[in-house]
Each structure stands twice: as C-alpha cells, then as structure tokens.
Symmetry: C2
Subunit: 227 residues, 2 copies
C-alpha cells in the first residue's frame, strides 16, 4: 500500500465535490481533512474485510471500489460499487464496530481514509458534520433500496436498460456513453453473472443498443425507456 500525505489537484477536486463534504463550511472541512490520510492502492486490493473491527471509513477519490459479501462456499455478491466521490462504511460510525462486508479496489484507486473515532467525536460537536453524515448515509440507503426494487421488479435486460438510461445525458434521440469500468463490474452491480450481462446487451440490440468495448451507443433513448 502506497501512502502519500499529499493530495493531487484532481483528487482534491473530487474530494471537495463529494456529497459527504460538498456542503460543509470551511472550519468543518479543515478539521475533517486534517485527520484524513490518503492512500493509493493497486487493483484487486482489499480495503476492508467482513468481520474486521471497523476503525475507519473511506471516500473514493479515484478508481472504483466494490463492496461485497461472501457466502460460505465462496460465492460473492456485490452490494454496491463506489465511484469517485462516494464514501463507504461511514454508516458504521454509530452502530456496529465490525465491517459487515468486504471492500476491494476494482482497479488502481486512491482513497481518503477517515478514522472512525475521530469523526465520531467531531460529529458529536459539530451539527454540520452530523448533517453531512446523515445526508451521505441517506443517499446510500436510497441507493440500496433502489437496488432491491430493481432486482425484484426487472429482468436482466431491463436492469441494463435502466443503468444505461441513468447515465444518459439526454432525454430523447440518440446518445453514446462510455462505461467507466469493466463489464464484469457492471454485471456485479446489477446482480448478474458476466455472461448474463453479455446476453442482456445482445438482447438490447433489437432496440438499437450497440456495444463495442466500453462504448455504448443508444439509437433511440425513448425506445429504450419502453423496455
């Protein structure tokens, strides 16, 4: 693990725009950032493991981090995927003190690490920080509830269509987006095996979706909405 105390400009920009920190005033920001440490990790590196004592939470600055559970037979189930700006494990601040899932970098990534106890103390004093925490955790909750509803209501092609639409800048006409990560990661996010994602993409061809590498072209956004 390569630790550097200094922030690159890009990473700093991501950090300041992260939902968790975006609304904070200067003093709160300084206090939080002074206790934070930055680390850059290689791909496939574990950041935390199910059952370990939870002494820190993280904010992704660059790259993607996958949160997942393991079954006894070793099968993995992705719980959520954290993009730059997302925090994770911050919901353990006032509840459990062991991590409840594993976190692994999906590619080389840089993270900001916040010490639990220190932030806990800050949150007790500073209502602004408490509010930021509530917002961050609420956002996660909404995301996971969406995820459950998606899993239970929609088939694989529909979930893929939903994902594409959620990343589509426009409301109609044609569009083109670029996947920010590997397809196998997307598959996990959507609760699919990689093969199922592949099949879902090819079944979307007949509604004008073409995929080459990480580029996804949508012929008619409106048509995709009717899936």
């Amino acid at each position: 693990m390569n630790s550097s105390l200094k922030l690159s400009n890009r990473d700093r920009a991501v950090l300041m725009k992260a939902p968790f920190l975006a609304g904070l005033g200067n003093s709160a920001l300084v206090r939080l950032m002074s206790m934070m440490t930055i680390s850059t990790l290689p791909a496939r590196k574990f950041v935390m493991r199910e059952g370990e004592t939870a002494d820190a939470f993280y904010c992704v600055l660059n790259g993607y981090v996958r949160l997942f559970r393991l079954s006894r037979e070793g099968r993995e189930a992705d719980i959520m995927v954290c993009a730059p700006g997302d925090t994770f494990a911050e919901h353990l601040l006032f509840s459990d003190n062991v991590y409840l899932c594993n976190a692994q970098t999906a590619e080389p990534a840089t993270l900001a690490r916040f010490d639990m106890q220190a932030v806990r103390d800050l949150a007790q004093q500073d209502p602004e920080i408490a509010k930021a925490l509530i917002s961050a955790i609420s956002r996660h909750l909404v995301g996971t509830m969406d995820c459950i509803a998606n899993d239970r209501l929609f088939t694989a092609p529909q979930r893929v269509a939903n994902y594409i639409l959620s990343r589509c800048p426009v409301d109609g006409g044609s569009a083109s987006i670029r996947l920010p990560f590997q397809k196998s990661l997307l598959a996990g996010m959507l609760g699919l095996a990689p093969e199922a994602l592949s099949r879902a993409f090819s079944s979307l061809r007949r509604v004008g979706v073409t995929v080459r590498g990480r580029i996804i072209q949508v012929g008619d956004v409106q048509a995709l909405k009717n899936i």
Copy 2:
C-alpha cells in the same frame, strides 16, 4: 383514519424502546414527543405514496407496515417490512422531498407521525437527536444491504432458513417460533411469490421444519444452519 392524541400504555412502551428514541435523554424525548401525532389505521391503508411530497416520517407502534415499489405494469416489490419500533422514511429528512416508495399497513396498525420540518430543525440544534437519526438510518442501511446479499447469494429455502434462524432464540436443539404476520407478507420480505414461500417451507420439512398456521417448529436448529 382514526386519530387519537393519546398513547396507550403499550404503544408508549414500544415507542420508548424504539431504536430511534431509546438512547435519548429526557429533554430531547419530550421535544420530539410533543410534536408527534398518533394515528391508528385499518389494514391495507396507504400511509404514503411514491412521488408524494415527503412531509412526515413515521414510527410503527403496533402492527406491520410494508414498504414497496410499483412497476409500470403494476407489479409490486417489497423493499422492507417495518415492525413495531421501526421508523420509516426518516432518511428523507436531508435529501429528497418526495417519498420514493409506497407504504401500506399490512394489518390494523398504529403509527407515530413526525413532521419532517420540525425534526429537521431539532436535529440541527440537538446533536443527540442527530445521532439518533444517524443510528436509525444506519440500521436501515445495514438491513437493506443484508437484504441484497440475501437475495443474491441464497435460494428460497436458504432465505427462509435464514429468516427462521434470525428469529430463533436458541443456538441449538429444537425451537418453536410464531410468525408475527401473514405468510404472504413474509414472502414479500424475502423477495418471493407466496407460492415459492410455501414450497420453500415444504422443502425444509426434510431438515425438520414443520409449519402449522403461523407456528414454525424447528427440530434441530444446528441442522438448519447447514442449509
């Protein structure tokens, strides 16, 4: 909707033990409870609807409330089921201002209603209340993450076994539990059609689980854990 301003003793006891309120000091408690209103609702009554402006959140005092989403074709997907002591929609305090799912009583129920704006103001002043909110929302988040992992890792009989075990008071030997609600509600909680739940129960017979009405008898708790 039958509204009564007074709390029954039972409901009061549930309220005081609810995770959201349990850790609060007296002054915070009084302030929260003075702004709260109690209502008793018939079965199948909608408490909130997807898309409505979110001007209150609730704590279940008696009965069960089902939170679910609707697809365009009218299919329902349960997101979570709230038992006495659970709060719901409290995560909208500092984020969205419309409800993101529907809530419906599964049976006659009594709820405490908290005005969003009022609690928002309180939370800004009182770090104790903010902390209580963080705990409540975190608890929900953990629950929904568990739910996703369950859905993705386990088959219907395994999920049912997990549920039974989670309600089992003992670690080994035999046990008997009583479902606190209809089986169809449990089916929804576990992401199953009612028929699938029925089949899961009958497939668990060969590991010593017998079901009659709402009574579930487990011959060997340890054996159930190996499913």
